[in-house]
């Protein structure tokens, strides 16, 4: 019985893997824009998984998470663009970006160690804004970030002889730049998910959970909460930094506008909607909130044109309306998220047999 079950599981994994490998070709048939959307969606999965470490595992509410995304993106942009004339290779910059973001994570974590709940949320929100405002203004007296104009002509990823900026023909298939990015992101995503799963189910993961449950008790049994919390901030920030670096290289242009508060809120919404603390739930939440708005963008206008012969409501307005409604309905009917972690299910009394 057992072997048949795992055999089935094996088949399932292979089918999912094949589907994911074939996906960009299907998307490309609908337009390269959809491949780009898929890439952005994967980046948001990165970001959500990073934030999930801080919010879901360790229970520390962070509203300034986008700052780490921004730091990673700017590190990449500065080290691989004509702005400073530096053109370091991708595999050198990505670890640098991740490390710098981790340092920023510790910078944010250190002064906020004693804060919890609402107070922590306010300080992290302020931190996110500070980073954005710095990015916006560090063009004088020394031009570091190029201010609101942002940084352009960022080098595309280049691994070996393959540049991710152009289309290549492989085995008779034409593989465009975005498609190459997709495969690279998919590979990185696999690594990120494995890291998250292993962290959650480890000595460190249990310590995070203990802090979330009862910080005083955690300290009393010998957990150095300072260290363990900073570790959560640093790990979360690292993933943000990696996502930022990838964003830079994919877009080729970044400006402070990409790293605003609403992005932080959006990432947090993905974590909460999917199911705080559950890695697969967070993945689902991030994918949903990335794809559904894009689908609306492509359906709202034609539908209105067909029904009323003119556009009555802007897609953006409908998007926010549906987003708000979705959140309200979620809080009412599935407060622990679409696919909650078992711990959250228990917290909300959703386990089987419980009233």
């Amino acid at each position: 019985m057992r072997s048949r079950f795992s055999y089935r599981k094996y088949i399932g994994v292979i089918l999912v893997a094949l589907a994911l490998l074939a996906l960009p070709f299907a998307l490309a048939a609908a337009g390269t824009a959809w491949v780009r959307i898929a890439n952005l969606a994967i980046l948001f999965v990165f970001l959500s998984l990073g934030l999930n470490i801080v919010v879901g595992f360790a229970g520390l509410l962070d509203l300034g998470y986008v700052a780490f995304y921004g730091v990673g993106a700017y590190v990449y942009a500065l080290l691989a663009s004509p702005h400073f004339g530096l053109h370091l290779p991708f595999w050198v910059i990505l670890p640098i970006g991740a490390s710098v973001a981790a340092i920023f994570g510790v910078l944010l974590g250190t002064p906020t160690l004693k804060l919890r709940g609402d107070y922590l949320a306010i300080v992290t929100l302020g931190f996110g804004e500070i980073v954005r405002i710095f990015l916006n203004n560090l063009s004088q007296p020394l031009n570091i970030t190029n201010g609101p104009q942002g940084i352009a002509q960022i080098d595309p990823v280049r691994i070996g002889g393959i540049s991710f900026g152009q289309t290549d023909v492989l085995l008779g298939l034409s593989v465009s730049g975005p498609m190459k990015h997709y495969y690279l992101l998919l590979l990185l995503l696999l690594v990120v998910i494995v890291i998250n799963l292993r962290l959650q189910n480890s000595r460190i993961g249990r310590a995070w959970e203990a802090i979330r449950e009862d910080e005083v008790a955690a300290r009393a049994i010998g957990i150095d909460t300072t260290r363990v919390k900073l570790l959560a901030f640093a790990m979360g920030a690292t993933f943000g930094g990696v996502a930022g670096g990838m964003f830079s290289s994919i877009q080729g242009f970044i400006s402070p506008e990409s790293f605003v508060l609403t992005e932080s809120v959006m990432i947090l919404a993905m974590v909460v909607l999917g199911g705080m603390g559950n890695i697969w739930g967070v993945v689902v939440g991030a994918l949903l909130l990335s794809f559904v708005p894009e689908m609306l963008r492509y359906t709202v206008v034609p539908v209105q044109m067909a029904l009323f012969d003119r556009m009555l409501v802007e897609p953006e307005v409908i998007r926010m309306l549906l987003f708000g409604m979705a959140l309200v309905l979620m809080m009412r009917f599935r407060p622990a998220g679409l696919w909650p972690s078992s711990a959250r299910q228990r917290e909300f009394g959703m386990e089987k047999g419980a009233k």
């Binding site: 494995v194 890291i195 292993r198 962290l199 480890s202 000595r203 460190i204 993961g205 249990r206 310590a207 959970e209 203990a210 449950e213 009862d214 005083v216 008790a217 955690a218 300290r219 009393a220 049994i221 010998g222 957990i223 150095d224 909460t225 570790l231 790990m235 711990a343 228990r346 917290e347």
Partner: protein, 259 residues
């Protein structure tokens, strides 16, 4: 391991104020290796405050502790735990949404080492450590007698088992001194008798126990020596029989004129 004369923990003139309230004043006491030491006193006498100062949750205003013959750093709770002092709480503080087994496994944090890199790579060392953590946790659940509840959530356990689980979690830190804050509070007679057996077993296995308790009968029957706190000061410290007859203790509990 202990200091001079077999003394494990010594408090030196510990003082603590909360605003105008003198919660602890010049409290000195000495707990010997291998004994069950009771700490009693009327409500608000400062017993729990002394526990919180000792476990590093509050800073002391004056005085300090020595443990195993060396000064004890009480500036942070995890340092106290590392030194070998584990405690439980008066109002049970378990990790409610984790299983009983996970609660005890967290208790092994202090004595294990795997970090982020170990967790991510999951090499043979980390896997062996994880297995050892789980083995020890199961052992401790057996020891306190709730192994059959290993996969229950802490908050779903009956009250008496929650107390036991908290003791198992404290034992997971490999303490030399176990400090129990009113472990029998809210327990019925059967549960109290079982607790008594458990504490006697701990002493038989070489552990030193510091016990705050309201249940005078339990304290008198169980403890080797007892200290009495009243208004933040130690008014007596002796074997239970003599403490019971001490006029100052009777006065503290029953008021002036009764003795």
């Amino acid at each position: 391991m202990s200091g001079a004369n077999g003394i494990l923990l010594e408090a030196h003139a510990v003082g603590k104020r909360f605003g105008g309230v003198r919660a602890l004043h010049q409290v000195s006491l000495a707990i010997k290796q291998g004994e069950i030491y009771g700490l009693i006193g009327p409500n608000g006498a400062g017993k729990t405050t002394l526990f919180n100062v000792l476990s590093g949750l509050y800073g002391a205003d004056s005085g300090g502790f020595s443990f195993c013959g060396a000064p004890l750093n009480i500036s942070a709770p995890h340092l106290v735990a590392r030194a070998g002092i584990a405690r439980t709480f008066q109002n049970i503080r378990l990790f409610a949404n984790m299983t009983a087994l996970e609660n005890v496994m967290v208790g092994r944090h202090l004595r294990t080492h795997a970090g982020v890199i170990g967790a991510v790579l999951r090499g043979t060392g980390t896997r062996a450590e994880e297995a050892a953590i789980e083995r020890r946790a199961v052992e401790l659940l057996h020891y306190v007698g709730i192994a059959d509840r290993a996969n229950h959530l802490a908050r779903q356990l009956p009250y008496g088992d929650q107390r036991r689980l908290e003791i198992a979690r404290a034992l997971a830190t490999d303490p030399k001194l176990l400090a129990l804050d009113e472990p029998a509070a809210g327990m019925n007679a059967t549960e109290t008798a079982a607790l008594r057996t458990l504490v006697l077993g701990l002493r038989a296995d070489g552990l030193t126990v510091l016990l705050i308790e309201h249940d005078v009968k339990l304290v008198m029957g169980l403890c080797d020596r007892v200290a009495v706190l009243d208004y933040g000061e130690k008014i007596a410290e002796d074997v239970p029989e003599r403490v019971q007859r001490d006029p100052k203790v009777i006065e503290a509990y029953l008021g002036v004129g009764v003795a």
